[in-house]
């Protein structure tokens, strides 16, 4: 990516030069939510902008995010050739494609590979950190009823840009199995 494009994309995501992957991700999540949902910040100016212009803003945000992710990946490659540094993005791409089972452990691995804190997810999804921990540890007994847990898993997966339906279906199949088992014991 040319340095001109790089600056343009960073500007779109309202970041300073040299922003880290986790900062890029956070900014993207924030802006995407801001321009696609209603909030006290956007309600007052609904008539100020046409739906097309709004879509255009969202498109630019998506475009900038994708381009920046690629540039991070490229850098990772370069770094790898020079020395065997931590391959963050590479592993993520592989796991998200290859994984068909999303156990709590697998989710945690993906998250850590992306250098994302549970607190980040909690702040953005409004799911309590403790529940996120329970999801990763598959502490089914402390997780809330099925519908809620499913919602939490979806939020978690969306934050990591995973296919949330796939993740939730897989994850909840184990939850259901545990629940059956648990009820039999009773």
């Amino acid at each position: 990516m040319s340095s001109e494009d790089y600056s343009k994309h960073l500007e779109t995501l309202e970041l300073e030069p040299g922003a880290s992957l986790s900062e890029v991700r956070k900014a993207y999540q924030h802006l995407k939510a801001l321009y696609s949902r209603e909030s006290i910040v956007t309600v007052p100016i609904e008539d100020e902008i046409s739906p097309e212009a709004k879509k255009q803003i969202l498109r630019q945000i998506e475009e900038a995010y994708k381009a920046l992710l690629i540039s991070f990946e490229e850098e990772e490659y370069k770094g790898k050739n020079e020395m065997s540094s931590q391959p963050a993005m590479k592993i993520y791409e592989q796991t998200s494609v290859e994984h068909t089972t999303f156990t709590g452990q697998a989710l945690r691995k993906i998250r850590e590979g992306l250098n994302i804190d549970l607190q980040d997810i909690a702040l953005s999804t409004r799911v309590q950190t403790q529940y996120l921990k329970d999801i990763e540890l598959e502490n089914f007994e402390t997780l809330p009823p099925e519908t809620y847990t499913r919602g939490f898993v979806i939020s978690y997966a969306e934050y990591l840009s995973l296919d949330s339906k796939k993740v939730a279906d897989d994850y909840m199949s184990r939850y259901a199995a545990w629940k059956d088992e648990h009820e039999k014991k009773k």
Binding site: E14, E23, K26, H30, L31, L34, Y35, S39, I40, V41, T42, V43, P44, I45, D47, E48, I49, I57, Q119, L123, R126
Partner: protein, 309 residues
């Protein structure tokens, strides 16, 4: 908006449209922070309708005010009273005047000139609520324009209106010399014919009129920057509202801003005001006090707050 004379004080103004967002509270405490750092500060209460900055500092209503400057021609420095805090003076607006719009344009220019000649490092001006052109012209006088909002939809709505009005006025004020002032006003008057529905379209339309106009607007856009303070937040989730407002200002209106910091809700604040205590003096170790110190530094440095939580 830049001060040419190095001797003259740096001027900060605090506005933001809605009343009750804590402008006076923020300004008096930011001033206190600067004074604690050894800087010489003068607070001016330009809330010409309801000057009450003295209450935030816990001192009695001064007997002299800006009215004396206008009516009795008293020199401005002679109207600065002791604020009760070291390094900080106070100059209050016309509390006895019942017509806040009663200042003539020439009087206003004279006042601005004298403010710039005050002997201080920083002059902090507290504006009243609203977006009257008198208020906005004072706001634009600043080297640093500060706005205070709270996480409520009306405050945010008023802020957008305030900033748009301020920018519009900023452009208008600079067009006088180019003989283009009427062009802008007429365009706005005939906006229906031009198919202009909002601020953005107005700016685009004006830019399309001529190369000169485009250059002027672009210059004005680049030197316009508001410093946003988010006051009275109730949860850490609300911190991001400042980032959101900043983003909207840029992406919808093309206006630059810096989000310099937030201040948590603290019930002690209103207790302090009612007891006529200065908050920073009474609770220097509180979380709010730390937050105010941080945002003061950010304004000084002209940078955004650090978003790393």
């Amino acid at each position: 908006m830049k001060t040419i004379n190095k001797q003259s004080p740096e001027i900060w103004t605090v506005g933001g449209g809605k009343g009750g967002t804590g402008k006076s509270f923020v300004l008096s405490n930011v001033g206190n922070c600067l004074a604690l750092q050894g800087k010489r500060v003068i607070l001016i209460d330009a809330d010409l309708g309801g000057a009450n900055l003295h209450t935030f500092l816990g001192i009695k209503k001064p007997r002299i005010s800006l009215t004396d400057f206008f009516e009795k021609k008293v020199a401005l420095p002679d109207l600065v009273v002791d604020s009760g805090i070291k390094n900080m003076g106070l100059l209050i607006g016309a509390i006895h005047s019942l017509s806040p719009d009663g200042i003539k344009y020439t009087q206003k220019l004279k006042l601005f000139r004298h403010i710039k000649q005050l002997d201080a490092d920083y002059v902090l001006i507290d504006l009243g609520a609203g977006a009257h052109f008198n208020t906005i012209d004072t706001f634009l006088l600043a080297d640093k324009m500060i706005v205070v909002i709270i996480p409520e939809v009306i405050a945010i709505e008023n802020l957008y209106f305030f900033l748009k009005s301020a920018f519009f006025r900023h452009v208008l004020n600079s067009l006088g010399g180019h003989g283009l002032r009427d062009v802008v006003q007429n365009t706005w008057k005939d906006r229906k014919e031009h198919g202009i529905l909002n601020f953005n379209q107005l700016i685009d339309h004006l830019k399309g009129l001529s190369k000169t106009m485009e250059n002027i607007i672009n210059t004005k856009l680049s030197d316009f920057r508001a410093y946003i303070i988010l006051n009275r937040i109730n949860s850490s989730q609300e911190i991001m509202i400042g980032n959101s407002v900043k983003s909207i200002c840029k992406k919808y209106f093309g206006l630059n801003s810096s989000y310099v910091g937030y201040i948590e809700f603290d019930a002690v604040v209103s207790r302090c005001i009612n007891k006529r205590q200065s908050y920073m003096q009474a609770y220097p170790a509180s979380r709010c006090a730390k937050e105010i110190e941080r945002l003061t530094d950010n304004i000084l440095e002209g940078r955004d707050m650090s978003t790393k939580l």
